[in-house]
Structures are given as structure tokens and as C-alpha cells.
Symmetry: C2
Subunit: 351 residues, 2 copies
């Protein structure tokens, strides 16, 4: 049977994603929405949706099984905790909390209430990420030692609450939370240390981009980069293995793979590059590599709510676990600290 | 009048570049070559070149004005110092020395001998570098705050002396020396700190690639990356300014520029990217930017020897100065130390 959902917050993600998603879902039934802004309430009604008069009205409605929280980041904690204490299952937009202390208390509240509580890591359904994960796991390019994940825009940081520190603004908490989660899902290794450079191109208050370096146990490295002043975008994903490389230029495109089938050539001729000769950087003979595209994986973002409802029913583990939520939050905290202090930070990944 | 040149070392750069360059030069006259390897001497004679029997024979030949030193890195110091003490002007292949102490002594010897001594930074004539320098200086993309310079090959490190530490092997001293010099020529600012990650994909003995981060006074940053296990090459140059971006995909191609002519648009619509919506990363409206190619600069690598000979004649300052040579060497030392210790290193750029 479908679970009854109320979406709290009728902004960008609430109206633009969760309501639309719920209306086409096979596992949830949208009872209505609630937003503190009367104009958004009015807009919801104009779209034929039932609106609740207050958060209390949502939380005391016994018909409501779960709530999706899609409001500014600094309001997540109070709203989520109230909903959990009212016995509602809670799916919260990212970043789930302002810091790991808040998150720790939210997780404890969920456990005490016996409710499912997770964060909307919808980008685990991104086809580009799924392709890189599949390539990593396939072993096709040998042992992977370096992954780069980038998202580049050119509009600066949005001028709403997302450029304000007190509301949990900045690109680390906005896009970082997704890209870090993806990398941690791809590389099943402990993080040893973290280095991060923060951008402040259009604002000093929050990071309007960053370049984050993770070093994993055994030496594998990842670089995660978010930019909002990049008028030309660099490739979305780049991965190096000992026997090949993989590249996704744009999320609309399939992954390109160059797989090394023979390491050595009989003879390497130096090539002219600009004002000099080089043997090291000479292109490879085509017979030593195979080049091909990786088939785009299947992805259905409805699987997020399907898993969430299965978790409520005790049929599955929640796909985005408390431990994963906490790990991503701690990585973001360490990254911001690294950027502010300009130093490499050792990361305790055993917690 | 042309200066008389002897090329010492008839290997990759000696035979492949300096001898060929000298034979078509309007400022130097190739007297002959010398190599410690009899097979290479024989090869030189087979190419119709005069060979000297020993380094002493070169240095005692009063006809010789200048020598070009193109031998393994750990032999530079002795050979250069002997040549300078014999009153010869010396052009040395890069890296000019194994460390800054050696270089300091070489510079002092040159000053005492009253001879011109410089390093072959031929990649100051690279058309890709010249284009990025011109774009930086033009102000077309506004204040530049980030530059990335990459060179990617897939053959591993050469298996000759360049993979051995005692001979000054490794990619930092091989390609790093060029790419660092280029960046320092583009950004006329003091370096504040340095962070570097070293690759050891195919060998533990020396770095077979690296990613070097420089932070300049005022916040401008540069990333210099050399890779030898990159089966797909990332773009050669990428530069971000506050009003645009510039990209060179491959040194054979012109620079692409996207210049922002109007920061804001009347309305931004969120776009679907993979499994989510985004406003921040939505592509720009075409009317807010201008996209164009940058004309490829003129470059003539013969200008290096022309300047060197002018410097001998007192008509010009040497183009690659002692201070520049020392600064690049110190940056490489700090970069290797940063990589080995995995920490950010403060750089004293006032020395």
C-alpha cells in the first residue's frame, strides 16, 4: 500500500522535484504540502494541491506516514526532530544538517522514535556517476589510483539563502554533499587525509566553489571540484587506472574509455610539441590501446522513494544509511576546515 | 659575427634539437660535438659532424665561444663549472642543476668568470603558453584567479637515466621545470605557498607525475600537472578570470575564450542534469557571453640562441635570468618536499 507523504517546503526542490516525483510515484501518495510562506502556499493551491496551515497540522495528521523536508538548511534540524518525535518517517533534503553535532542528535532522535530518517542523495541515480562506478568495479582500466569529479557553472552562487552562512549556504554544502557521496560510493576505502581550496570569487561569506582532495588508504586519490565562475566547463568525470583512463565530458554523453592492451611499443619516436621534442608525451600507437564507449547505465530516480518505503516496511535497509550521512558530513567539515586553515587534515575514518 | 658552438652530449636533445637548431641558426656556428659514449661519437661523425676527443679538448679550443650542455642532470654541475672556468659561455639543458645549492655555486662561478650562463627554457616559445600569457595580460577575461597547466602522456617514465633518482630523474625535474617556468612568467606575483601530490604509478624511485598547487599573493592560484599514465589527455591549459574563461585543449589548437559580457540574465530556469534539477549549473544564455578563438601567437625558437648571443655581446639581458633559474629550482624543491611530507609549505619568494 502507498505511504502518505507531505512535502514541507514548496521551493525549488519541494515544488520542482518532490511534489512532481510524488505525483508519478508508485509507492507514495501526496497528501499535501506546507510552506511558511503564504505566497508559496497560494501557489501550491493554484496547482491543485492541499495545503496544511502549520507544521503542527502536518505532524498531528495521523494519516501522514512520512514527510519530505525541503527547506533552508539551517531549519532542517528543528523540523526534522519535531517530525521524528511526532512519529513521522523523515526524508530530508541535503545537506541534512548544518554540522555533524546536529546530525548526531537527529540520528539519535530517529532511533529513539523508531522512524526511518534519511537524506535525499538523489544524485546516486546520476547516470554519469553510475557509469564511473561500474567502470571502477569492472577492472577494465586496471587498479584505479585517481578520480576527478567536477561540476562547473558560470552564474556565481545563487543570491537567495544559499549565499548566506547562517542558512548553510556555500557550494560545499550544496553540491559538495552530492559529489563527495558519489566518490565515497565509488571508492570502498578509508580516507586518510583531506586538503581543500575554497573559492571566494563573487562572495567572501561562503565558498562559491572549491577543489577538494581526498587521499585514501593505499594511495588512491580523488579530486572533487565545484565551480560557479567557469564559463567553459571542464569534463565531468576523469578516472585513471594503471591500465587505462575513462572520461565523461558532459553528463549527457557516455563515458569514453581508452584501455591499454600492450604497455610497450617496439619503438618510440620523439614528437615535436610546440617548441620542443618529447618522447615521454608522444601519443601511443593505436595497436597498443582499445578505445570504446561505455554503455549508459539504466537509472530510475523513483527507486529512492521505493527503497525508503521498503525501509519503513522493514523489507530493506535504507539505501542512504546514517553512517554514510555522517561520513559525508564529517568530510565536508574537514574540507571547510582545511580550506580555511590552508593545511592538510588527517581524517579519522574509523569513527 | 656568428659565435662558435660545441654541443656536449649527443643524445635526445643534443642530437635531436641543439645540433639541428645550430645548423639552421643565424647566430651560431656549430664547430662540433662531444659525447662520452663512443657509439654516439661515431653516430655524430656518421652525420658529418666533427667530434672532439674529450671535454678538455673542447674547453681548450680557443675557437669555441659557447657550449651547450645536454647530458644527464647529475653531470650538469661539473661540466658547466669546468666550462665556465675555461671562459666558455654556457647554455645548459634543464633542469640546470640537481638542487639550488649546486645552482648557487654555478651562478657564482659564471659571475666570477664573466661568462653568460643560462638554462634552455625553450618552452617559453610554446605557442600554447604564449597564447595564455597574452590572454592573461589582455584583461579580456577579467582578473585571473586560477590557471591550470597540464601535460599528459601514457608511456610511464622513460626507462633510461630519467627513472633514476641519482641522475636527477622524475617528472618534476623533467617537465615540471618547464611548466613552472611558464606559470611564473604568466603570473607576475609572489608565491605564498605550495602544495604538491606526487605520482608513483610505475615506479617508487622518482615521481612519474605530480599535481602542484601554487598560491600567489592576492589569492591567484595555479595548478601544474604532469602525468605519464593518462591514456586520455585532459586539456593543456585552462584559465579562469572573473569575467570569462580560456581553454586550450591541445597545443595544436588555438585558445577558446568565453567572455562574459552581461553577468545577469532576466530569468534563470532550473535545468535537469542527470538525476536532479539545478539552477546554479544551468548553462548561460548565449546573449550574455561572447565565444571566440584567440589567434595563435608567432613564435621562433631560434630567438633563444639569438638572445643568448646578444647577451654575450652585451646587447641584451639574458632572457632566462639567474634569478628566474633559481626561483624555478626552489619551487621544485619545495614541491618535492611538500609531496614527500604531504603538507602545505610556505614559500619565501623574497630571496
Amino acid at each position: 500500500m502507498k505511504k502518505n507523504l507531505v512535502v514541507i517546503g514548496y521551493g525549488g526542490m519541494g515544488a520542482g522535484f518532490h511534489v512532481k516525483n510524488a505525483l508519478t510515484s508508485d509507492v507514495v501518495n501526496l497528501l499535501g504540502v506546507y510552506d511558511i510562506d503564504p505566497a508559496k502556499q497560494e501557489s501550491a493551491r493554484a496547482h491543485g494541491l492541499k495545503t496544511y496551515d502549520s507544521l503542527d497540522a502536518v505532524l498531528t495528521d495521523e494519516q501522514v506516514d512520512l514527510v519530505t523536508v525541503a527547506i533552508p538548511n539551517d531549519d532542517h534540524y528543528d523540523t526534522v526532530v519535531r517530525a521524528l518525535k511526532a512519529g513521522k518517517h523523515v526524508l530530508c533534503e541535503k545537506p541534512v544538517a548544518m554540522n555533524s553535532d546536529e546530525l548526531d542528535r537527529m540520528i539519535r532522535t530517529a532511533k529513539e522514535a523508531g522512524c526511518i530518517f534519511s537524506v535525499h542523495q538523489n544524485r546516486r541515480w546520476d547516470v554519469d556517476y553510475l557509469a564511473m562506478k561500474a567502470i571502477y568495479e569492472s577492472g577494465k582500466i586496471g587498479e584505479v589510483f585517481d578520480i576527478e569529479s567536477r561540476i562547473h557553472g558560470s552564474r556565481g552562487i545563487p543570491s537567495d539563502w544559499r549565499c548566506q552562512k547562517k542558512h548553510g549556504g556555500g557550494m560545499m554544502l550544496d553540491w559538495g554533499v552530492h559529489l563527495i557521496d558519489q566518490i565515497l560510493m565509488i571508492v570502498p576505502k578509508r580516507i586518510e587525509n583531506i586538503y581543500c581550496k575554497l573559492d571566494h570569487v563573487t562572495t567572501a561569506e561562503v565558498d562559491d566553489g572549491f577543489q577538494l582532495h581526498l587521499t585514501f588508504e593505499g594511495g588512491c586519490r580523488a579530486m572533487i571540484e565545484v565551480g560557479t565562475c567557469n564559463f567553459i566547463a571542464m569534463p565531468r568525470f576523469y578516472m585513471r587506472g594503471k591500465k587505462g583512463s575513462a572520461l565523461i565530458r558532459d553528463w549527457r554523453e557516455p563515458a569514453e574509455i581508452v584501455e591499454c592492451t600492450h604497455w610497450s611499443e617496439s619503438e618510440v619516436l620523439p614528437v615535436q610539441t610546440a617548441a620542443g621534442l618529447t618522447k615521454t608525451m608522444a601519443p601511443r600507437d593505436f595497436v597498443t590501446t582499445e578505445c570504446y564507449a561505455w554503455e549508459r547505465p539504466h537509472s530510475d530516480v523513483h527507486d529512492y522513494y521505493r527503497n525508503f518505503v521498503d525501509a519503513i516496511d522493514g523489507k530493506a535497509e535504507q539505501f542512504v544509511t546514517h553512517a554514510q550521512m555522517m561520513r559525508v558530513m564529517r568530510v565536508m567539515e574537514a574540507a571547510l576546515a582545511s580550506g580555511e586553515q590552508n593545511k592538510v587534515i588527517a581524517f579519522d575514518d574509523t569513527l
